[in-house]
């Protein structure tokens, strides 16, 4: 079974969301997602300042056998893409919930509530239903 930390929120498309102290959020892909993709060889993160809508494709994670879009879990403005990943995409495999974060965002007003994010327990059920 893959690791699903209890303190994070999730999406059905396998992103996780961590609310930081300053009210911004950090976004990455889940342990399940990195495992399904396999060894990542390339990660493209969005530029700071970009405004994104919820569910808008804004990053790409690529392995040798697949490439997937990563969707914004909520509406807001990108405040940073993880600069480390261009040289070390494997960080997403080794530490998906920590050093392997993809982007930070400032949520639009009311965006967190509107996003319908899943709890760890709900996301675990999604994985169970997928056979994962």
């Amino acid at each position: 079974m893959s690791n699903v930390p209890a303190d994070l929120k999730y999406t059905k498309s396998h992103e996780w969301v961590r609310t930081l102290k300053d009210g911004t959020v950090e976004v990455g892909i889940t342990d399940h997602a990195q495992h399904a993709l396999g060894d990542l060889v390339f990660v493209e993160v969005p530029e700071a300042g970009r405004a994104v809508k919820a569910d808008e494709a804004c990053a790409v994670v690529e392995s040798v056998k697949a490439a997937s879009d990563v969707y914004a879990p909520l509406a807001g403005e990108i405040t940073a893409g993880n600069p480390k990943l261009s040289d070390a995409p494997e960080t997403v495999n080794s530490d998906p919930y920590g050093e392997g974060w993809l982007m930070r965002m400032r949520p639009a007003a009311g965006a967190i509530a509107a996003a319908g994010l899943l709890s760890a327990a709900d996301y675990s059920q999604v994985l169970a239903a997928e056979g994962g």
């Binding site: 060889v41 390339f42 690529e62 392995s63 040798v64 056998k65 697949a66 490439a67 879009d69």
Partner: protein
């Protein structure tokens, strides 16, 4: 039956193993109403002796005229070894190298090809080939739209000095995705795109500028000024180049202060026969920063589980079999065998051979032009340097002159009337290293006669 080895005993034994009474039984899932009873429109079979006779007769019908046609396809000497090796079954009848361990020959050849093309164009990275120069140009325009993220317009500036067929292919292949191709006029005195004509685009969002060097008329464009103009305003530069000419001319990687962003071209001059238009191959190169926007297969060098070097297809996540609707292109099959021929050709020519070939072609075309303009009623269309082809202006329609020449076994060049009517009677002529002084003289003498015959007509 042709190429089917089965004996009657084989068929009986195989049907028995399957548990079917007849081969027909195997098609039982197909609705009977759909079955076809005969293929009357296909002739009866020929054996190899008969097809050999037929094809030899057909080939003889077409003859071997003395040709001064260029316009995107060029007659060059092809070393015998090129096709003797290329048609070895191990290259000829292999599939795409998806099973890398069983395809190291094709993969290493591709890696060597990528290296040679990158060096020839002065660019950082090349792919494993596109269909031809025209489709590579269309794909380059699509790639530029992906690569130039600051530009939102999908506007591509296309000089009318770019091969007219390339312009049409670009429109046919790329306009469905919303690209807009806007044509730039050329100077009718010099036959080149004038940087001054770009003034009207000041302050506008332009995604990319295409530049063909030498251009369709054989004339050399001011590539440095055009490239710098584009880069100063965030426009990418797509170079369309003749690979033979690159032995002499500045490679796209050296254009202007930053070099072209994408360089493509027709690979046919590198060891590929004219063959009525194909199979040829397109080459495509770019900067490393844009490699993930490049379509087509790419080979990389890596290590095996024991630490030995080997070659494999890489960056496949760009491609249709993985990325499907979001792939960089739908291209799958490329022109691998032609790329193989070109790699062998470039190895045999080397820097000296390719440079001599380019120089000899250039010299012969200059001598041809010098000889032909001695004919009354024939003059050079444009002033300024050319590479291995040039436009002549005639004082009478070109078509009847070409017809009279063809009757004498000479293909005198391309009538530009359908493409550039504003030039009046204009003829694009080409000579390469394959032409001798006697060939040029034969054309000159025949042209005088043909001009007179055309006037009489």
């Amino acid at each position: 039956m042709a190429f089917i080895p089965h004996t009657e005993a084989d068929v009986a034994a195989m049907l028995a193993a399957i548990g079917a009474r007849s081969i027909e039984d195997l098609f039982a899932e197909i609705p009977p109403s759909l079955r076809v009873s005969s293929l009357a429109g296909v002739p009866e079979e020929l054996n190899e002796m008969e097809i050999g006779r037929l094809m030899s007769e057909r080939a003889a019908q077409d003859g071997t005229p003395l040709s001064f046609l260029g316009a995107g396809a060029y007659e060059h000497h092809i070393p015998a070894a090129v096709w003797a090796i290329t048609t070895r079954g191990e290259f000829y009848s292999a599939y795409t190298p998806y099973q890398a361990e069983a395809s190291q020959g094709t993969l290493q050849t591709t890696y060597e090809f990528q290296t040679m093309i990158a060096r020839l164009t002065g660019m950082e990275v090349a792919n494993a080939s596109m269909y031809d120069g025209a489709s590579a140009t269309a794909e380059a325009a699509l790639m530029a739209v992906r690569a130039n993220r600051k530009s939102k317009s999908a506007r591509i500036l296309v000089p009318t000095t770019l091969h007219p067929h390339y312009r049409r292919v670009a429109v046919a292949m790329a306009s469905n995705q919303g690209l807009r191709f806007e044509e730039l006029p050329y100077c009718t005195v010099e036959g080149v795109t004038l940087p001054a004509s770009l003034g009207k685009y000041a302050g506008e969002d332009v995604t990319a500028l295409l530049i063909q060097q030498p251009n369709f008329f054989g004339r050399l464009e001011d590539v440095d000024a055009l490239t710098d103009w584009a880069h100063e305003r965030g426009t990418l530069v797509i170079a369309v180049v003749n690979p033979t000419s690159l032995a002499l001319l500045k490679p796209p990687g050296g254009w202007g202060s930053r070099g072209a962003d994408i360089a493509v071209g027709e690979g046919q001059p590198l060891g590929v026969p004219l063959s009525s238009g194909g199979p040829y191959f397109g080459f495509m190169t770019t900067r490393m920063e844009y490699v993930r926007q490049m379509p087509g297969r790419i080979v990389g060098r890596t290590l095996d589980t024991t630490g030995r070097e080997g070659f494999t297809l890489t960056l496949q996540a760009r491609e249709q079999h993985i990325r499907r609707a979001k792939a960089t292109s739908n291209i799958c099959t490329n022109q691998g065998l032609l790329m193989t021929a070109a790699t062998i050709y470039l190895s045999l020519m080397g820097p000296q051979g390719l440079t001599r070939t380019a120089a000899a072609s250039h010299a012969r075309s200059r001598e041809l032009v010098a000889a032909l303009v001695r004919t009354p009623g024939v003059r050079l269309a444009f002033s300024g340097p050319c590479f291995h082809e040039a436009v002549l202006l005639l004082d009478r329609p070109v078509a009847p002159v070409l017809k009279a020449l063809a009757a004498r076994g000479i293909l005198g060049g391309l009538d530009l009337a359908p493409y550039y009517p504003e030039l009046g009677p204009a003829l694009l002529v080409c000579a390469t290293e394959t032409k001798t002084a006697a060939d040029l003289e034969r054309y000159r003498a025949s042209l005088s006669e043909a001009m007179q015959a055309a006037r009489a007509a």
